[in-house]
């Protein structure tokens, strides 16, 4: 993979005491591995071991993006429309982050190999963060790309500008939320549980995708094109509303107070969260990560008891021992 653009940032890395050449090599290797990893949107497909599964998943994300672009064309109020699109974007990206990027965020095992080499820990961390950012921004912009282009043609370059800035802020917010989610889970659960939860996220993701596809065809006929838009206080709680507000505020010239406040929240909150994240959370986060590798030897007596009880309950129905076992583990 080529990332010439990074050369421009080389200087910044050097200033931060990071060995840019080595970081680039680590990044190259990691991105190569990412391309070969089967992402969870494609987890059911058969070509698991093939090359370029990453690009194939990008096509899937692109299709989703095309769906968002269709919404863009509908004659709905701007605020509602953007709310819908951004809400879906946030949901999809968060889910992808949680299910696919857990491998990147929580990758502590590579330290044993990398840090045994003459590489500074800062360089390894910088490579890790850059890798996450590259993957994450790629997915974000592939998903948002189609609606971005459609919007550009329909509403002009100002739209593009707002949308672009919005996306950056949204990325920050999602990065924070995902990390926070992991952080909380690591605080309360051990590594096994966390892996379970990541699996649940993957299941939810594929479930939503499935339903989403079913709906795509039908949704156009259900939409009532005459819904008016009424502002409600609870919209302040919707992140998608924060990011949708600037469109109404600037593009439609609706200088209403709530649009202004919403837009401000949308700018301030992600910024604040990112500052908190890089300032404080990330340190505790790394400290808790070691839990992932540790095998916790908790007493799981309740699990055993429950299994025995379950077996007793079910044995009248399934007397065959072998079938019984399969039933218990499904």
């Amino acid at each position: 993979m080529d990332f010439e653009g990074l050369r421009f940032f080389g200087f910044f890395y050097q200033v931060m005491g990071i060995d840019y050449g080595v970081m680039r090599k680590i990044l190259q290797i990691k991105l190569l591995m990412d391309q070969r990893r089967a992402p969870s949107v494609l987890i059911n497909s058969k070509h698991k071991d093939e090359e370029n599964t990453f690009y194939k998943s990008l096509i899937t994300y692109g299709l989703m993006g095309a769906f968002f672009a269709i919404i863009m064309l509908l004659p709905l109020p701007m605020f509602l429309k953007m709310n819908l699109i951004i809400g879906m974007l946030i949901f999809m990206i968060t889910m992808t982050m949680v299910s696919d990027f857990s491998a990147l965020l929580l990758d502590t095992r590579d330290k044993e190999i990398l840090l045994a080499k003459p590489i500074k820990p800062q360089t390894v961390n910088a490579a890790k963060i850059t890798r996450i950012l590259i993957n994450f921004l790629t997915i974000t912009f592939v998903m948002a790309g189609p609606s971005l282009i459609v919007g550009l043609f329909k509403y002009g370059p100002l739209f593009l500008g707002i949308y672009f800035l919005d996306l950056l802020l949204i990325s920050g917010l999602i990065l924070f939320l995902t990390s926070l989610l992991y952080f909380l889970m690591l605080l309360f659960f051990d590594g096994d549980k966390l892996k379970d939860i990541i699996n649940y996220m993957q299941i939810i993701l594929s479930f939503v995708m499935m339903i989403g596809y079913q709906f795509t065809g039908h949704i156009m006929s259900y939409i009532d094109y005459n819904i008016g838009f009424v502002f409600k206080w609870w919209m302040y709680l919707l992140p998608s509303a924060w990011f949708a507000a600037p469109f109404s505020l600037i593009l439609e010239n609706r200088a209403e107070n709530h649009f202004l406040y919403l837009s401000l929240i949308g700018v301030i909150v992600p910024m604040l969260l990112l500052i908190i994240y890089f300032g404080a959370v990330i340190k505790y986060f790394e400290k808790n990560l070691y839990k992932l590798d540790k095998v916790t030897a908790k007493k799981r007596r309740t699990v055993e008891k429950r299994a025995i009880l379950y077996q007793k309950l079910i044995s009248p129905f399934i007397p065959n021992n072998l079938e019984n076992v399969f039933c218990r583990f499904t």
Binding site: I26, I29, M33, R109, A116, P118, I119, K120
Partner: protein, 260 residues
């Protein structure tokens, strides 16, 4: 031979939570030594090696490698060290070519140089035909050979190996044993951990036995034999770790199996 120790460990202590894993290790290692580091599971062997490699911090005590205190945060000393981890699990999606050239380049070798070297070393160990295959398709022995190559490719002065011979067939074991012996003759230092006592007995010229975070024996096999008056390293191991219940445990195990 150089009389200055290559590695000096002074009063090394380490605790994980409330558990004290290392309770004061003192050790001096000289160049040209092949040291077998043995001990029961969980005795603190790999923790020691990880601390030496700078992978674990918050330890107490002083460690000097090649004359430099490793707690100063510099990573340059690692250039002269080869470390063989337990697995390459995370890099399994790569081919041997990609992995080895990456490792070599990190050590500052040029791509061409490391590529040639890697190819030849792979050929010598009989795995050249999988040079461009994914590591995930390798057998256990092939992975082990790859790990050995990756830890040696930059021609280090000191080698830390974790179970270097596990999974290898008898012929490969002989090759690797010979390589280690030859490296030691060239003045390199080899520090390895193993559970195969016969191997340790034969190839080490110094054996360090660690139990519950402390060194309980240190010396050549002959010295250990003399001290403990036992015939094999296995028996010495059992004696020094205070383990003599193997028969009882085996009996109980069989009883439990047959009781169902």
């Amino acid at each position: 031979m150089n009389t200055e120790p290559v590695v000096t460990i002074k009063d090394l202590k380490m605790r994980f939570g409330s558990k004290e894993v290392l309770k004061g290790i003192n050790l001096e290692i000289y160049s040209g030594q092949i040291i077998g580091y043995i001990g029961p599971n969980g005795a603190g062997k790999s923790t020691t090696v990880k601390i030496l490699m700078g992978l674990v911090d918050r330890y107490n005590g002083q460690i000097r490698i090649l004359g430099e205190d490793i707690s100063n945060g510099k990573v340059e000393y690692k250039r002269k060290i080869g470390y063989m981890p337990e697995t390459v699990e995370i890099f399994e999606n790569l081919t041997a070519y990609e992995y080895l050239t990456f490792i070599g380049e990190v050590y500052g070798m040029s791509l061409e140089q490391v590529n040639n070297k890697a190819k030849k070393l792979m050929a010598l160990l009989g795995i050249e035909d999988v040079y461009h295959s994914r590591i995930s398709s390798y057998s256990k022995g092939m992975k082990q050979k790859l790990l050995i190559i990756s830890s040696l490719i930059h021609n280090p002065e000191i080698l830390f190996l974790d179970e270097p011979l596990s999974g290898l067939d008898a012929n490969s074991v002989m090759i690797v044993k010979e390589i280690l012996a030859e490296l030691a003759r060239l003045g390199k230092t080899i520090f390895y951990s193993s559970h195969i006592m016969d191997v340790v007995e034969k190839i080490s010229n110094r054996i360090i036995l660690i139990n519950e975070g402390q060194i309980v024996a240190d010396g050549s096999f002959d010295e250990l034999k003399e001290k403990s008056r036992k015939g094999s390293l296995e028996q010495i191991f059992n004696q020094l770790t205070g383990f003599n219940r193997h028969k009882e445990i085996a009996c109980e195990f069989i009883n439990e199996l047959q009781g169902v």
